[in-house]
Symmetry: C2
């Protein structure tokens, strides 16, 4: 979605431009294959949402903060490393329309390059002055990401899931990382503890809203809008919020539960499943949740932010609320 290229990020556009250069520079290593794979991953682009939110938080006090780039790079390296590992795990062949590293260089190289990128991220932290908090936050993020993926896999095709379990899973998978990105920016800006917590909470709510929206769009958007088949989550056994709601209120809940629990379901079953979900209030119900998260994200923003930073934080919230692709 090229979020970072949106004009709403004008206030940090110099940081974002420099980040692209830094990411390319850090991909230059003495080992040719790592350089090739790293450069491929950087050039494949991405939203750069985590560094963007980190930069915003880091600029949210009047004092100028030096050396913002190293943690921005670390955040994006961790994100790229998890994507490379995810693509190996999912045997994905393209991401953002570009061949994945596992297709171009094989699983071995992809797993190892991911490990290398994790380690490189921590090497950057070693040079940083707020080491302890940063280190704890980033290691928690990676633990959370892998736990989230593992839980998602072990709960797949199980229609007996609660909204709380879903919320915990997407927090681990998505929201905690977005929260940590905001938190780290607030830490380097030397905000008060209360404001660090507030910006972290903003990130958490934004991340939750983002993931629930993703899960809704998988059901409502056309395959063209998504760039992948609609209902893909259902095929993969992912029991998302709209599915959980529909399983609770549908007149055909037994039939839907059976579809959800089927591994290797036919296209007709997917279609029927989507119809059953859309016949309930599940989509509206889920969008209400999104709105709650988005409202809370705006509410918790610290009172004393510079006007342009506050506006950007709010614009990001509105952007997530409006997106339909």
């Amino acid at each position: 979605m090229g979020l970072a290229k949106q004009s709403m990020f004008d206030v940090i556009k110099d940081d974002m431009a420099q980040l692209e250069e830094e990411l390319l520079a850090i991909s230059q290593t003495p080992t040719m294959l790592i350089t090739q794979i790293g450069t491929h991953l950087v050039k494949a682009g991405g939203k750069r949402l985590r560094p963007a939110l980190y930069f915003l938080a880091a600029h949210s006090r009047e004092e100028k903060v030096e050396n913002l780039q190293s943690l921005a790079i670390a955040l994006e390296l961790i994100h790229m490393a998890t994507l490379v590992h995810d693509d190996v795990i999912d045997e994905a062949s393209t991401r953002r329309g570009i061949p994945t590293a596992n297709v171009k260089w094989g699983n071995q190289m992809s797993v190892l390059t991911g490990d290398y990128m994790f380690a490189k991220a921590f090497a950057l932290v070693a040079e940083h002055r707020c080491q302890k908090e940063v280190l704890r936050s980033l290691s928690d993020v990676i633990c959370s990401l892998s736990e989230g993926e593992i839980i998602q896999n072990s709960e797949a095709f199980d229609p007996k899931q609660t909204e709380e379990e879903y919320a915990e899973r997407i927090a681990k998978k998505t929201a905690n990382f977005i929260a940590a990105s905001c938190e780290l920016g607030a830490i380097v800006a030397q905000h008060s503890e209360a404001d660090i917590e507030a910006l972290k909470e903003y990130g958490y709510c934004l991340g939750m809203a983002f993931q629930v929206t993703d899960d809704i769009l998988d059901i409502t958007a056309s395959s063209e809008q998504l760039g992948k088949p609609a209902g893909n989550d259902i095929v993969q056994g992912m029991v998302t919020l709209p599915v959980i709601r529909a399983l609770a209120v549908s007149e055909h809940k037994e039939e839907l539960a059976e579809i959800v629990a089927t591994r290797g379901m036919s296209a007709d079953m997917v279609k029927r499943g989507l119809e059953l979900i859309k016949a309930t209030d599940a989509i509206e119900y889920s969008y209400n949740r999104v709105d709650e998260y988005l409202n809370r994200a705006k509410e918790v923003l610290p009172a004393n932010l510079p006007a342009d930073i506050r506006k950007t934080f709010e614009d990001v919230v509105d952007f997530v609320g409006k997106r339909n692709f």
Copy 2:
């Protein structure tokens, strides 16, 4: 080889016993599958060579050092994480006679559990007082390990390799990690910079000797001794020191080069390759290298070590020199 259970490690046996308990304790997580896989990996055992060398170095000054366990755990977690990822990459089905995690739980869980363990290792570092040096050392180790594996893969089946390239590769793959284990112990013991470097060099030389010995045994030992088919490295295209030497001096160097470059070679080709190598001075030549590394390991040990610690460091050297399995 159960090195850590050898009586030569008597001087650190309490630390080693506690480490086993700590490793089991840290494997207990809120996520059931991570707990299962972690416990499986810990119970599968292993040499615990890295923590053992770290403990030795940490006890190598008279002053008592508090809280040694956290970095010992971190070292072993990183080692276990790389083994889990290696087994996914190599599609290995057993390790130390026990089914691998990828066979029991699949590649996805194995990749993610490895990531989780890397992150957990860094979380332990966050609580440590010598953060900066430790963090730099451990992130360098993981970068080095993944680079080593990547280089090994990209150089596979290429008979045009030099001894220098080989040395660089096994340093990255094996020796740097052993070196870092000794270095970290020396750091927490607050040794002088010179002695930290000396203990690191000891670990480096020990690690190099260990790996060259491994590579020799792949050629000279019986399949029964190895617990895997002899000549396995050649089958996998790994051009090790004895092979490089034989390629330089053999009367049949063209034939050997052809064998080394063959993917999916027949059992007869492997047998012929092993014969050609053993007909040269390659084994003796490689053992001379091992001896050089081992002698140097003993030489560089700091002068002022406690007698029992020095003796143990020397016993480890002798053990590596004598091993034939």
